[in-house]
């Protein structure tokens, strides 16, 4: 027995050492662009929601380059864990397309290659989405390039607007107007609702709810991500507004426990007058052709508007064995050819100098998304996942309890603020 235990300990120690050694795997070799066109095969990880256009991009790149890229699709829900575990174990990809909110975390842990110098040489560096660039920067160094964009807007069902005697060409521009329109639409029938939200989805609400706070002049996090501002008065106002909508009965019962699936389905079925979603949803609605929809900016309390700048950044990993080819692909992915392919597949490009010509021209409604690209906001934090995307985290809990739980909003805010500050203090 004793020998067994010793052996076990020895193996454990060996495992631990190797894990530790790989943990900080930042190989000393940097990107070498001097020796002509890069060759070899590189691996790229992307999420399942990107499958359609990732394959098209890879094919286009492989046709015109010596280096070849192989795409691996990872389920969206597990991407962060899988990428983290693989990179920690030294089996990560050369290139990764990462949801921009996670960029500060990965950059801070040293698993991404510092591409500050290479990125500075890009002729269109200043034309890339500002919010994406901010999220790619950690301690003044650049760790990724903007890749795909996404923005949140207010979708309205034009038919329901008309039936309720509202002008679909004049969408609501304040909290009060949204509430008023929602009540009128709710009055149309027992199965018609004015508005809906994903009440139990942290990630949905950072995308859909925060713009209301921003448009009213507030924020949920300080610029440097070190201080949570969940107890600010603008957050109180937005929570109160959502609670008023729920109390007025304009939201369906499903909203309280919706983790993000019922919300688009209800709008698509024509049962909801207004919903906040992103550019990705236009694809669904355009293919479906069931709902005549319009899109509008997300308003603040008494006016103004804001949008969440989402999407992906693309990075070379620090553990990559072929950084020259990896960087070549990353650079190409932000170039005109790749960004045009994206736009043709209804993905908002990240180049502010291209977005009008290759994307916005396709559908007049797209203009709003291209505008959002320039002014959209994104919270910056190395603990974004714990703060906002966790469906049971402080953010999701605060919203759910305030809007549906009948608790005191200020108390819920205080609780969330303290919990968030604790998470920020503890760090990743």
């Amino acid at each position: 027995m004793k020998r067994n235990r010793l052996a076990a300990l020895a193996i454990t120690a060996a495992l631990t050492l190797s894990a530790t050694a790989c943990g900080g795997s930042s190989s000393s070799e940097s990107i070498d662009t001097s020796s002509g066109e890069p060759t070899g095969t590189i691996s790229l990880w992307a999420r399942d929601s990107q499958k359609g256009f990732m394959d098209l991009l890879a094919n286009a790149y492989n046709k015109s380059h010596k280096a070849q890229v192989e795409v691996t699709i990872v389920p969206s829900a597990n991407f962060v864990q899988k990428f983290g575990t693989a990179t920690a174990g030294g089996s990560g990809p050369d290139v990764a397309s990462i949801d921009l909110v996670y960029l500060p975390y990965f950059a801070s842990t040293g698993v991404l290659e510092d591409i500050t110098d290479e990125a500075a040489k890009l002729p269109y560096k200043d034309k890339l989405s500002p919010s994406h660039q901010r999220l790619s920067t950690f301690e003044d160094k650049t760790y990724a390039l903007p890749f795909t964009a996404e923005a949140s807007v207010l979708f309205i069902n034009k038919d329901l607007f008309k039936q309720a005697g509202l002008d679909p060409e004049k969408p609501p521009t304040t909290y009060a107007e949204i509430l008023d329109a929602a009540k009128k639409i709710r009055a149309l029938g027992p199965d018609t609702y004015g508005f809906t939200m994903a009440g139990q989805c942290g990630g949905c609400n950072i995308f859909e709810f925060t713009p209301s706070v921003w448009a009213s002049g507030g924020d949920v996090l300080s610029e440097d991500g070190k201080t949570a501002t969940l107890d600010s008065p603008q957050v109180t106002d937005a929570l109160t507004f959502y609670k008023e909508m729920n109390d007025a009965g304009v939201m369906p019962e499903a909203a309280k426990t919706d983790s993000g699936t019922a919300q688009p389905a209800l709008f698509q079925a024509g049962k909801v007058g207004m919903v906040v979603l992103g550019a990705f949803f236009t694809q669904t609605l355009n293919t479906d052709k069931k709902v005549d929809y319009g899109i509008a900016p997300i308003p603040g309390k008494t006016g103004g508007s804001a949008s969440f700048a989402g999407g992906d950044n693309i990075a070379v990993t620090a553990g990559s064995k072929n950084k020259a080819a990896a960087w070549d692909f990353v650079k190409w992915a932000t170039d005109d050819e790749a960004q045009t392919i994206l736009a043709k597949n209804s993905i908002v490009p990240v180049r502010t100098d291209l977005v009008e010509s290759v994307y916005a021209s396709a559908d007049p409604r797209n203009a709003l998304f291209s505008k959002a690209l320039k002014t959209g906001k994104t919270p910056y934090s190395v603990v974004e996942n714990q703060l906002f995307n966790d469906n049971n985290g402080p953010w999701a809990t605060m919203i759910n309890e305030s809007v549906f739980g009948g608790v005191d909003i200020k108390a819920a805010q205080k609780k969330a603020q303290d919990a968030s500050q604790q998470i920020i203090k503890t760090g990743p």
């Binding site: 454990t12 983290g84 019922a262 996942n385 759910n400 990743p428």
Partner: protein
């Protein structure tokens, strides 16, 4: 290391005791020796698997639990820091409390339904076998699949379950049962009973079959009523099986995760987060693998104590 000892024991016991005393003692000893060597060889693969897939991971987990061990980045030794933090972690304590509540509700419920089903199918004939198969069918459905199935069935505005009930005038089809703790817990419990009771039934059925019919007949002849036969004959003889079933269902309930992760996402308002759910959040949303390991170690200890306690009852009830 208990499993190993017991395995070795059973493997060597025939050689040690079951053989002819006529053999000279030296030969007998060498035979015993070679038998015991053979036993060790036979046991080796199982031991190897157990080592690779159980002892090593557990050792690694205990080692990790002594560190601040982020998914990526620097690992630092902090001794028992994670454990002291666990006892001050309100979220973990709340999750542990909810897990206990769930176990307390689930265990008798499953046992009652299991015993009832086992008694129902305890008769000869084809009809009983058909029903036995029907009751057992949900067991072969995966836990996650069953969770999604019930989630869909009970969805407000979409699910057929609510549609049926609203047609029967019992509920409105826009009701959201997941909106209250009681409702959400009831649906999850319903799903788990539907999914697991068949297995309990099968185990209890085999226990029932091992009870000699003569005993029951004798009791009947002595004038015992049906309930008296059940109370004084069947139940005591079924105790070993009952204990086994209890160990299974208690362990399963204490480790509950998928059903809540899928069906309630921990809601409403984080009121249905189980211990394993919390460990998942700590490890894979918070990336604090060391702290997650410490919580897992605590859960393992609780589980070991509960199971050991139940085993004790099992041993005391077995008179042989």
């Amino acid at each position: 290391m208990a499993p190993q000892t017991s395995l070795t024991d059973t493997a060597t016991s025939p050689g040690a005791s079951g053989h002819t005393p006529a053999l000279p003692s030296r030969r007998r000893r060498s035979l015993t020796k070679s038998r015991s060597a053979l036993g060790q060889v036979v046991v080796a693969p199982a031991l190897l698997l157990l080592t690779v897939f159980f002892f090593l991971p557990v050792a690694l987990m205990l080692w990790m639990s002594l560190h601040k061990w982020p998914l990526l980045g620097k690992i630092t030794f902090i001794g028992l820091g994670n454990y002291t933090a666990a006892f001050q972690d309100q979220n973990f304590l709340r999750a542990a409390g909810f897990t206990l509540l769930y176990t307390v509700i689930m265990t008798p419920l499953l046992l009652l339904v299991g015993v009832a089903l086992a008694l129902l199918i305890r008769r000869p004939g084809r009809a009983a076998r058909v029903f036995q198969s029907i009751y057992f069918l949900p067991v072969v459905v995966g836990f996650a699949a069953a969770g999604y199935l019930w989630l869909f069935m009970a969805q407000p505005n979409l699910g057929p379950l609510l549609d049926l009930l609203s047609r029967a005038g019992l509920a409105s089809h826009s009701d959201n049962w997941f909106g209250t703790v009681v409702g959400a817990l009831a649906i999850v419990c319903g799903m788990v009973v539907w999914k697991v009771a068949g297995m309990q039934m099968l185990l209890l059925n085999s226990g029932l079959q091992s009870i000699p019919v003569e005993l029951e007949e004798a009791a009947r002849i002595d004038g015992a009523s049906r309930s008296q036969v059940f109370r004084y004959i069947i139940l005591p003889l079924l105790r070993p099986t009952l204990a086994l079933v209890l160990v299974f269902s208690v362990a399963g309930s204490l480790l509950a995760f998928d059903q809540f992760f899928i069906m309630t996402s921990g809601g409403p308002a984080n009121q249905t987060i189980t211990a394993v759910y919390h460990i998942y959040r700590v490890s894979f949303l918070g990336f604090q693998l060391g702290y997650g390991a410490a919580l897992s170690a605590l859960l393992m200890i609780v589980l070991a104590i509960v199971s050991a306690f139940q085993m004790l009852i099992l041993r005391n009830s077995d008179h042989s």
